[in-house]
Subunit: 686 residues, 2 copies
């Protein structure tokens, strides 16, 4: 992350005193190292139900098949949501694929069963579920434990006279179908026990969760019934391919296998060289047990995955030195296992040097992920990297870190970044018999010497007949030191070798041992894979939370302070009325903006200009321009900024120039204020 | 389609004499009305096997799960294919969504069964298949008839001494597993019969295809065994949602239902007004019976769909007058039913006026589709619009036209454009009880007068007791003229009414009939839907065929003449060698191009510059710049055009300026030749 040294101007300082203008200032990428928490403490406390209502009303997204009663965990994106998602993905493509010359792929979702049998998904891609012993309702086992223990801790806090956390308010609990909070004080050591269990919940196996349920009498909070033993439920959607029903298939739960299966083609496309990365944006499917958390846990989602193929003996990264001074918020596995969730601020250079992060390539990607999330508007103070604990990590993984983003439901994994070692390529290669390897011409051949035994086969055959094979096998299995010893004995004239209870006397006419030189000019290896994996729905939702606030003077007036780079519409064009005399100007401004590559929308509806702006604050539109009678007469136009509601005025073409630079992030609002005079016209405008 | 009038310069005329430079000239969108067929007749005849080899070798796309033996009908796109597809979709988004202010959606693939039960897909989204009576092999019934009859006609042509068509060559037949051509002359009337069947094959039902098989002894060409009766096979992939297996679901076979289910939200987003259109790009799935035609028939594909919601009483389009003079190639249903495939050139204005195309909105979209396809590089001479015949069209559709693109396998539907009437919204509304209607405030209320009967209920009850209901019902069901007659009789003092065999004497104290005025200020209606639906894989493949040719001097040197707007890479940067002294210049050029929004790639491999260019001709890269020692010394750079292999030279910044205008389509190559001097340097460069 680049940190600039800036001499603050007086205008800028005034600007920064207002929490909302500060927010704008921070959300422009150039100043992303500022403290966003100031914003989040401002004026009205965050109210999730208001945000959810806004997102639903303005059709950012909505439950899919709503008129059929909906299906849990399936959502449709409406116009502003689709556009926000498309902009996030476009920035992802630029930030990762273009910037680091990755090879883009678009692979198949419907996958024949053998692929996921090999990858281990058929056997292991499962969550633990428990059944209510009376109703048969199905619950996800770890979520049950989490809900119940958190509720008990909340009851304990209340009993001790500590305020309930804001996120535990009645409304929210209902919405999330959480366990009821019963006000009962717990013993101090029980509190510690619960906190420790929660800190490492991802570390428990299914049977261990079953034990927890029995030990702490954890029941289905909806019915108060006991639950049965945890059982595994495979999360892949099954289907079958072709008309005969003979070819079982699954919908992919991740795009990764599509990269691995095409490895040889990708390697060839890259002229046989590693490291290189492939990247793909695509839909994946997970048949979640009982999804209840909006976009944070869904059954169908769009993800972005990168597979960076690297020499297992050299996981350095050529651009690591450019990023090594970047400070990240880290939560490593040792801290978690100790029962804490204390974050450490550390440069990635130090983290790799100390072995906290396994290697430079993994470290490089953590920094790139951090930068991307901040660029699109995630609050850096609510972003951390959490390392997987031993049991949580796939057995083959060398290291794994999740980028977690804090939101009303807690910390949520939004990006995973794992070192999958050589696992995937190895298993597919073993199953199919296709070599998935890199063959590298060595710059300098590796020259090795070793002792090579050579039998005089005729003589050995004559001497030992059928047992000759036994003898040859025994010698063939000797290591270097045994051969050297044998060579020494032969030099003395004779040696004895035992094999399967038989003794063989050996003389130099039977066996010679010579030191020979070997030259290896090709090195063959299975590359390791570093895999950053993004869930766009989760990123989109947390971004919306981080961007949402309400105007001080009116809590009903919600604003989404989305950065211009991802905002669905960059500029709203507001003619004073729908009268025809404004048409040519509206056309002109719209065309000029389009030529500058800026996506604008016209709102010529009947309501007041203020209402039209308020409506677009809800959609996160960062800028607006008003065309009125003065525009027709003098060719001037006002320019309004969403977060401050400040307005500037100037000749149409000047405003378009300033606007273009604002949208492209070349200048910020304070700089724009220096370029154009403030507008203090009719108050009705806002 | 805009047609410009151009005064040709002499340079331009020279340029047009070369078929390949002409091709370039045509493929730039400004001159897309030129005759592309000139190009397709040029030098080497089109060889599909060469194109297929190129696409496979350079990883445009490849069979998915190849190392597992592949699965028919599933393909993965590699780097150039993904990029080409992404560029086609970006242009689609601009051309349709942005240009016509459509509302973008991103809806769910996994769909609960009731949705497709309602839409009719569960009952009717099926193809007819036949089974080989001995091996049980499954074949698609209509494809079987087509293959066998076409093979017999080819045998007949050969027997009559007419040359076999180039596409029937031995290699191609094998690849497509076509029926064997047996050289047997057929009776003239049989030839006519076969031709007529083929022209309207899409018009036959399953049982009718079964009859054809029996009548003409059509057998499985692979085994020569008879086939059984055609059976329906539903093409949707089935799965189930949630852990209990109680909720059956299907993968959507089209994105359309996602639009319809969200209709009310979309309407609200559009402030309650029609017409408006929603648009969506997304993956869909069809479990094809036995896909064998590469990207032309696949089981998983990316499609773009538009649903334009319109007042059923007014299907005019506000922009129709802008397009009405555009000439399209039309093949209407009457021509097909008569057994012919003769194309008519006609303006869309005339087609709509004559009722050949059902309405203006449908006509507007046919023109926009035509323009889009030509813009991305489809040869307009190999593009036609074919109207669906009666049996082929969905029962609810008012009209339907397919944009078909000619390729080595014949004419292939790549875009469908249907008027689906009010079918979808009506059935979903009926099933769910949710109103999916537009409520429109009438500008002028509709005032109607009608006769209103009013009984004196007390008196009627007293007079007729239990039969009063019968009488009231009979009067209530009377139409306007009957009421008027009754009113006249009552004015005379008395009337008689018969109902269910009973007679009722009526007097004015029992019943009065008065003329009343009614005022209706809201009109409520279910909008109709015009649906253009694009299959991007088919468009991509046919585009690749239309773009492919080989250099005259060397048939091994394939070229893809993709227009810059869709080419995966716009500019190749070729440093003379990988020596470090070129690095700063390579960096500079690459950065300047990126700032101009142009995606370039560097090829600093060890091979000759000529080979590097040839390799990139295969990828369709339209322009290349070479950096050599002269560049380091004089800051000059050569610019090479792919199709002509002509080279220009100039100062680096001048070349970048010209290049930017070329890529953006502001100038064409002849214009560039006027701006920069020709380079006649070292021949090795090409």
């Amino acid at each position: 992350m680049r940190v600039r040294s800036i001499g603050f101007s007086t205008t800028l300082c005034t600007y920064l005193r207002n929490p909302r203008t500060l927010h704008l200032f921070i959300s422009t990428r150039r100043y992303s190292h500022f403290d966003m928490s100031v914003v989040n403490k401002s004026v009205h406390p965050f109210d999730k139900s208001r945000l959810d209502a806004l997102l639903n009303r303005r059709f950012f997204y909505a439950p899919a098949f709503e008129i059929y009663g909906g299906v849990a965990g399936l959502y449709d994106y409406g116009p502003p949501g689709s556009s926000l998602q498309a902009n996030i993905m476009a920035e992802w493509r630029k930030h990762f694929i273009i910037e680091d010359h990755m090879l883009e792929l678009d692979t198949t979702i419907m996958t024949p069963a053998p692929v996921f049998e090999t990858s281990g998904h058929v056997a292991r891609f499962a969550d633990w579920m428990v059944k209510d012993t009376k109703t048969g309702d199905v619950l996800r086992a770890d979520h049950l434990v989490k809900n119940v223990l958190e509720a008990r801790l909340a009851g304990d806090r209340e009993a001790r006279g500590l305020a309930a956390q804001p996120k535990d308010d009645e409304k929210d609990k209902k919405r999330k179908k959480k366990a009821k909070t019963v006000v009962v004080q717990l013993a101090d050591e029980v509190v510690k026990e619960f906190e420790s269990i929660l800190a490492q919940l991802d570390n428990y196996s299914g049977p261990e969760i079953g034990e927890l349920c029995r030990k702490y009498d954890i029941r289905n909070p909806d019915t108060d019934n006991e639950v049965g033993e945890p059982q595994q439920f495979n999360l892949m959607f099954a289907s079958s391919i072709g008309p005969t029903g003979q070819h079982p298939g699954y919908l992919r739960p991740e795009t990764a296998q599509g990269h691995f299966l095409n490895f040889s083609r990708l390697l060839e496309f890259n002229n046989g060289r590693v490291p290189f990365a492939s990247a793909q944006i695509g839909r994946s499917f997970r048949n979640e047990i009982s999804p209840r958390a909006g976009l944070l846990r869904v059954r169908e989602f769009t993800m972005g995955e990168i597979e960076h193929f690297v020499d297992p003996e050299d996981k350095s990264h050529e651009k690591f030195r450019e990023v090594r001074d970047t400070v990240l918020s880290l939560l490593d596995r040792h801290v978690q296992v100790s029962g804490s969730t204390q974050i450490t601020q550390m440069t990635i250079g130090e983290a790799v040097d100390k072995g906290i992060v396994a290697n430079e390539t993994l470290g490089y990607f953590l920094v790139r992920i951090n930068l991307f999330l901040i660029k699109i508007g995630i609050n850096p103070k609510r972003l951390r990297f959490r390392q997987h604990m031993a049991n949580e990590m796939a057995h083959y993984a060398a290291d794994c870190w999740d980028a977690e983003i804090e939101n009303a439901t807690g910390w949520t994994e939004c990006v995973g970044c794992a070192d999958r070692a050589a696992y995937d390529l190895s298993v597919h290669s073993a199953r199919t018999g296709q070599p998935l390897v890199v063959r590298q011409a060595l710059k300098e051949p590796i020259v090795t010497e070793r002792e090579v035994p050579e039998f005089n086969k005729k003589v050995v055959g004559k001497t030992y007949g059928r047992d000759a094979g036994l003898l040859q096998k025994a010698v063939g299995e000797m290591d270097e030191s045994q051969l050297t010893k044998l060579k020494g004995e032969l030099a003395q004239g004779q040696a004895t070798i035992s094999a399967e209870g038989k003794e063989f006397a050996i003389t130099p006419n039977l066996l010679t041992i010579e030191r020979k030189t070997f030259k290896q000019s090709i090195r063959e290896f299975t590359p390791n894979v570093i895999e950053p994996s993004f869930g766009f729905g989760r990123i989109l939702y947390t971004l919306l939370e981080h961007s949402f606030w309400c105007r001080e003077q009116d809590i009903e007036r919600g604003v989404l302070s989305l950065p211009p780079v991802v905002a669905p519409t960059k500029v709203l064009i507001v003619p004073l009325s729908a009268k025809e005399e404004f048409n040519p100007l509206v056309q002109e401004v719209s065309t000029k903006l389009r030529k500058a590559g800026i996506f604008s929308r016209v709102d010529d509806s009947n309501t007041s200009i203020g209402k039209r702006y308020a409506r677009n604050d809800e959609l996160g539109t960062p800028f607006g321009v008003t065309l009125d009678f003065a525009s027709v007469q003098n060719r001037t136009m006002t320019l309004r900024e969403r977060d401050t509601t400040d307005q500037l005025i100037g000749p149409i073409d000047d405003v378009i120039t300033v606007l273009t630079e604002l949208v492209q992030g070349i200048i910020d609002w304070p700089a724009a204020c220096k370029r154009l005079p403030a507008y203090d016209g009719v108050q009705a405008v806002d």
